[in-house]
Each structure stands twice: as structure tokens, then as C-alpha cells.
């Protein structure tokens, strides 16, 4: 008994030792600032002078902040349009790749690539070039005798270019879908075929229900991800959220209040509001999941 206890203790030590760097990172880099931002949310803090407590002033300010309401509108539009489109594209391609084509590994990697790059600065810069007034997209339109415009610098279309960018990063959910599709037993399809079910019926009656836990998983992740989008809008709009606030994502507004206006107390409060919004959306998702997600066990 005591010998066993000794061994276990040794194991514990090693485990803790290996955990230590991660744990230190969590405390110092993540948890510390998170806790600090909660406290700062109740202060007026200009980054340089010490923060001053102001109670719930930041909360009341949110209620009357028109630009915040506008930023929320832009963010909701972005999330609610881009996530379903992105998941549809991911599922569509996953099903195409699932048909066992040659060079699958290559295509899988090729389609996955944008996911790795999508939120990078380089791609956002590239996007600016593609959708600029003299960009690649307009040159393409010119081939058909169409005249484009500065897609990114026109408030009517700027947000759409960011939605397209997000849809383009369908690789991560696609790979997960692909794994999910592989789990569905082929015999279900065979049985359905024998019963005379067409492709569409098979998709609706077999693929969708059996894949629903995966769809749910992707939906939750991508919604959270989309709410947190920052880099794309920041780079594409040059940090302004423009033209005329049309790409003013919530995170970008938060950043501007904090770092342009030296308004870190309010920005901290905004960060917590975003957390609450994302938590609410996730909770809503889990609640709705009971109605449509089908678990096979």
C-alpha cells in the first residue's frame, strides 16, 4: 500500500511539473487579466493614471451608446449570415470529398488551408487588394465589361467582403464534418437505397440526423469564433471600422474605446458584455439542441 502510494506521489509530481508552464501561462496571461478586466469594468481608467471606481456608470453608458448599438447590429448581421453560409459550404464540400475521390488528402489540405490563414493579417491585407477599387475582383469583372467599385471602401458592400472572407475559412468545420460523415455506417444508405430513397431523402433522413451532433458542435464553435472576429475588420478597414462604421465589429469598437480613446474602463465593461452575449448565445444553442440534435446512443 505504502509502496503504491509512493509511486503515485512520484507520478503526481511529474504531472504537476509538466503542467506548471501551462498553469503559469493560464494564471499570468489569461486568468489574471480576465480578473483585472472585471474589476476595471467598474472604473474609469485611461491607461496611464490609476483607475477610479465609478460604480455602474459604464453600464448605464452602454444603454445610451448609439455606436455600441450600431456595432452590435453589425456583429449580429455578420454572425447570423456568415456562420450558416460557412457551415453549408463546409458540409457541401465535406460530402463531395467523402465520395472517395482520388487525391483526397491533397484536396482536404488545400481546402483546410484558408482556415489556418483566414484570421491572419496577411490574408486581410490580401483581401484589401482583391476587393480594392483597382483590385483583382474588379479586373475580373472588367473581363465581362462590368465596372466594379471599391468594395471595401463602400459602406454598402464592405461588410459583405468580410462575410465572404469568413465563409472562405470553411476548412476547419469541413474536416470535422468529413470525420463525422465517415462515422455513418454505409449499410443505412444501402438499406435506404433498397427501399427506394433518392439522394435527397437519404441526405435529409440519414445524413442530417446522424450528423446533427457534429453540426451542433461546429455551430457552437463557429458562432463563438465569429463573435470574436477582430483581425479581418481591423486590417481591412485600417482599424477604423469604416467606411462610415459599416465594418464596426463589436471587438473593434471595444478596441477603439480602449486604445484610441484611452477609455479602458469602459472597454473592459464592453469585454464582459461580449462574454455575456456569447454565453447567452451558447446557452440558447444548447437549449435548442434538445429539439434537433440526435444522439445515436
Amino acid at each position: 500500500m505504502s509502496a503504491l502510494g509512493f509511486v503515485r506521489k512520484r507520478d503526481d509530481k511529474a504531472a504537476y511539473l509538466f503542467l506548471l508552464p501551462w498553469f503559469a501561462g493560464l494564471v499570468l496571461i489569461t486568468a489574471g487579466p480576465v480578473a483585472a478586466s472585471f474589476v476595471l469594468g467598474f472604473t474609469d481608467y485611461n491607461l496611464i493614471q490609476p483607475p477610479r471606481f465609478n460604480g455602474l456608470e459604464n453600464v448605464t453608458r452602454m444603454l445610451g451608446d448609439d455606436r455600441l448599438h450600431h456595432a452590435l447590429g453589425v456583429t449580429f448581421t455578420y454572425v447570423l449570415i456568415s456562420v450558416p453560409l460557412q457551415l453549408a459550404a463546409a458540409l457541401g464540400l465535406a460530402m463531395l470529398l467523402d465520395r472517395g475521390m482520388r487525391g483526397l488528402a491533397f484536396y482536404r489540405s488545400a481546402f483546410y488551408l484558408p482556415s489556418l490563414l483566414g484570421s491572419s493579417v496577411a490574408i486581410a491585407v490580401l483581401w484589401r487588394q482583391i476587393f480594392g477599387a483597382e483590385g483583382l475582383f474588379n479586373q475580373f469583372l472588367n473581363l465581362f465589361g462590368l465596372t466594379g467599385r471599391g468594395w471595401i471602401s463602400d459602406p454598402d458592400t464592405a461588410l459583405s467582403t468580410l462575410i465572404v472572407l469568413n465563409v472562405w475559412t470553411f476548412g476547419a468545420p469541413m474536416v470535422i464534418f468529413l470525420a463525422g460523415l465517415r462515422q455513418i455506417p454505409v449499410m443505412y444508405y444501402e438499406a435506404a437505397q433498397v427501399d427506394g430513397a433518392g439522394k435527397f431523402t437519404q441526405f435529409r433522413r440519414i445524413t442530417l440526423p446522424l450528423l446533427s451532433p457534429i453540426i451542433f458542435f461546429n455551430l457552437v464553435l463557429q458562432i463563438i469564433h465569429a463573435f470574436q472576429s477582430f483581425t479581418q475588420a481591423f486590417v481591412v478597414s485600417g482599424g477604423t471600422g469604416g467606411p462610415s462604421d459599416s465594418t464596426m465589429f463589436y471587438t473593434l469598437y471595444l478596441y477603439q474605446r480602449g486604445f484610441h480613446n484611452f477609455d479602458m474602463g469602459y472597454a473592459s465593461a464592453l469585454a464582459w458584455l461580449l462574454l455575456i452575449i456569447i454565453a447567452a448565445f451558447t446557452a440558447l444553442n444548447f437549449w435548442a439542441a434538445k429539439k434537433w440534435v440526435f444522439y445515436d446512443d
Partner: protein
């Protein structure tokens, strides 16, 4: 028992806490600005914004300085104007501000009033300011303390591409008499003559200088002496109506092109790429613009509205400032470097008029003979300009004016707001920011 481990982890946490508090201590104090120059190795960080031409010149000046003081190394961090202020705010907040900071009039009060800048009076031993015109020096004072020294002065101007005008056989207008209506008329001729490839005017509406001048021409000011926004809504509405007219009549590029260019660097502007014949700039930008354009550019006085107040509407803007972080560990060496940039002919001969016609009169006269044609033209422009009193320094809280201005200009150009509605909204928003600071 796992006491050993927990003790060790406690220790490491403790070490972390000590490190954190040491960092905080550095943040609070900074070094002694009046102390002796160190004989040991000193590393300084120096940040500025600007074009390629400026980066090259500044690096040359740094090299001259480090040759003289081999124990001091200076690493330059240079950016475009648009990214500069984000980066500065972030580094200041992270307690990692560069030692020497190129500062602008828009942000001076914001940084100084929050204690981010060193009171240069404490560094007077190393940084001399007696060669600088007192009126210019005063522009770097906030609440009576010298937080920044102006590198030089600049004035708002209209840059015209005479190569283009010649090509379309349009005479260069007489800038002693021309009005905003003349600019419209000539601009339209250019747009028509080029078949749309070149627009007459590069739209503005994204920088505070243009609004200042417009207000002053109407006998008003952007801010009153107490720091309240004082431009009348009707005047501001007139400004946006003019810009809207330019865009609608094809005198300026389509709004989306204008917005795109406004967000890009100087080298990608309509003036630099020879795609607009007229553009508003600070006179000292002529050299950078000419280098990028490769064509003949000339400085003209701004058109006027014909009113009496317009005669004294131009003003000298301190083109930019040198300032030192209040948290610098080596303020004495930083001050020595600023002194070198500001007061030595050596540095002056390299920097020339890129940061404004030098504010130090000895340097100014020493370099006059060495100026390239564009620098000479910039200096001559200043000398011939009839200026009024300088506007009040941008109040604390209003440093975001250009972001607010840009957004409202965009809303006007894309016709989401009328000029009148934009004017009212702009004034209200700017005042709110000032009140909140």
C-alpha cells in the same frame, strides 16, 4: 507528501510577483533626466511616422549620432500615420513606450495630461531650447510645462501637379486671387480633359487641418479658447456640401476611391500617383510627394471664400514635436539625442525640411543653401504666407477628431447623412469626447 513541489511552485509564483512589482516600479519612476550621460552601453528606442524618404533621412541622422556617442544605440521604429497611434497607445499602456516619441499636435494634450510624457524642463541640462522661436516653443506647452519641442513649422497648402495641367493645356491658377469656385471649375476641366483617368481634385475631409482652415476662412475657429467645439454647424455643413459637390460632379474621384485612398499611405495618394491634379497637403510634404510622383508639383495657397476673414486664415502649425516618454529609463541620453536632432547643423543637413522648416534659427539658416528645389519651395511658401494667430492646441479628448471627421465625411459622400445633419452630429460627438476626458 508533496510539500517540496508546492514550496517550489510558491517560490516561482513569488518570483513572478517580485518581477511584476519591479516592472511596475520601473514604470512609475523612470531615470533622472538631469543626470550625467552614461558611459555604459545605453539602448534607446525611437519611434516616428512618415514616408520612405523620411525613414531614410532619419536613419542617417541616427547613424551620425551613434558615431558620436558609440555607447548609445538607437533602434528606430517607424510606421505609417494610420497605424502609428494605435501602436503608440498600446506600447504606452503596456508600459513599454519608446524613449523618444515623435508627437503630433492632435495627441500632445492627451498624452501630456495623462502623464505619459517627460517634462522637458527637467532635462534642460541636455536639451537646449534657446535657439527656438518662443512662439513656436509655446505650442509644445501643456498647462505651462514644456512636454514637447516643435521640430519645425508647416502650413496647409494646395499641391498642384503642373505636368498634368500642362499636358491638358490648362493654365496654373493665380493663387493670390482664386476662390473655391475656381477650384471647382478648373478641377472639372481636368477631369473632362483626361477622360476620367485623372480627376481634378483629390477629395479631402479626413484631416483636421482642412476643417481648421475652412472655419478660419469663415471667421470662426474649430475650438474656442476654453477648449469647446466652436465651429458653427452652418460653416461645417458648407464644408461637406463642397466635398459632396466635388464627388458628384466628377471633380473628385468616386467616394469609394476617395475613402480607399484616405486610408492608404502618402505614396498611394492621388497626388503621389499622378491621378489627381490638385490635393491639399502640409507644405512640408512636397518633397515626399514629389519623390513619389516623379512629376512637377507646385505649392499653391489655398483658395478662399472671398470673405475678409480668409486673408488671415492660414496659420503655422508646429509640424510635429519631439517628446520623451516619462517612463524612459534613460531620459538624459534621450534628451541628448533630441538636442542633437533639434539643434545641430549636422542633423539639420540630413533632415532638411522633412519635419517642417527647422524651428532652430541657426539650423534653418545653415541649411538654406543645401535645400533641394522642393525643400526650397516649401520654405519659400512659408515665408510668403500671410498667417494669423495659431489655433488653440487640440483639447484633451479630441485627439480622435480625425476618426470622427472621417466617418462623417464618409457618411456625407455616400449620402447617408446630409451635410447639415453630419455637421450637427459631428459637433455633438466631438464635444462629448472632450467632456468625457
Amino acid at each position: 507528501m508533496n510539500n517540496g513541489l508546492s514550496r517550489r511552485s510558491l517560490l516561482s509564483l513569488g518570483a513572478g510577483a517580485v518581477a511584476a512589482s519591479t516592472l511596475a516600479a520601473c514604470g512609475g519612476g523612470g531615470g533622472d533626466a538631469g543626470g550625467e550621460i552614461s558611459k555604459d552601453a545605453v539602448k534607446l528606442r525611437f519611434t516616428w511616422w512618415g514616408s520612405d524618404a523620411r525613414h531614410k533621412r532619419t536613419q542617417q541622422a541616427i547613424d551620425l549620432f551613434t558615431k558620436k556617442y558609440p555607447n548609445i544605440t538607437i533602434s528606430g521604429e517607424f510606421k505609417e500615420w494610420n497605424g502609428y497611434w494605435d501602436s503608440l497607445a498600446t506600447t504606452v499602456a503596456a508600459n513599454d513606450a519608446p524613449d523618444i516619441i515623435q508627437m503630433d499636435e492632435l495627441y500632445l494634450a492627451s498624452y501630456a495630461e495623462r502623464g505619459a510624457l517627460l517634462d522637458l524642463g527637467t532635462a534642460a541640462k541636455h536639451l537646449k531650447t534657446d535657439g527656438i522661436d518662443p512662439a513656436a516653443l509655446d505650442t509644445g506647452k501643456v498647462d505651462g510645462k514644456q512636454y514637447a519641442v516643435p521640430t519645425g513649422v508647416a502650413a496647409y497648402s494646395m499641391v498642384v501637379n503642373t505636368t498634368l495641367l500642362e499636358q491638358y493645356k490648362i493654365p496654373v491658377p493665380d493663387d493670390s486671387t482664386w476662390t473655391w469656385d475656381d477650384l471647382k471649375r478648373i478641377g472639372l476641366e481636368v477631369s473632362k480633359a483626361s477622360g476620367g483617368k485623372v480627376t481634378g481634385v483629390q477629395s479631402w475631409g479626413f484631416d483636421a487641418g482642412g476643417v481648421n482652415i475652412w472655419a478660419r476662412q469663415a471667421g470662426a475657429t474649430l475650438y474656442d479658447a476654453s477648449g469647446k467645439v466652436s465651429i458653427p454647424p452652418a460653416v461645417l455643413a458648407g464644408y461637406w456640401q463642397y466635398l459632396l459637390d466635388l464627388a458628384k460632379q466628377g471633380i473628385a474621384p468616386a467616394p469609394s476611391v476617395t475613402v480607399e485612398r484616405a486610408g492608404a499611405s502618402l505614396d498611394q495618394s492621388g497626388t503621389a500617383t499622378n491621378t489627381s491634379a490638385f490635393g491639399t497637403w502640409w507644405n512640408t510634404q512636397l518633397t515626399s510627394l514629389s519623390a513619389a510622383s516623379g512629376q512637377q508639383l507646385k505649392l499653391l495657397k489655398l483658395p478662399t471664400n472671398g470673405q475678409a476673414a480668409a486673408a488671415e486664415s492660414p496659420y503655422y502649425k508646429p509640424s510635429m514635436f519631439w517628446s520623451i516618454s516619462s517612463r524612459s529609463k534613460h531620459p538624459a541620453e534621450a534628451a541628448l539625442f533630441v538636442d542633437f536632432l533639434l539643434n545641430t547643423t549636422e542633423a539639420g543637413e540630413v533632415l532638411l525640411t522633412d519635419r517642417g522648416v527647422p524651428s532652430n534659427s541657426t539650423v534653418r539658416s545653415a541649411i538654406t543653401g543645401k535645400l533641394a528645389d522642393t525643400d526650397k519651395a516649401a520654405a519659400e511658401y512659408l515665408a510668403t504666407l500671410k498667417v494669423g494667430a495659431a489655433p488653440r492646441v487640440t483639447p484633451n479628448g479630441a485627439s480622435g477628431i480625425e476618426a470622427i471627421l472621417k466617418r462623417h465625411t464618409e457618411e456625407v459622400l455616400f449620402e447617408r447623412r446630409t451635410p447639415q445633419a453630419a455637421a450637427e452630429s459631428f459637433i455633438k460627438e466631438l464635444q462629448t469626447e472632450i467632456d468625457a476626458a
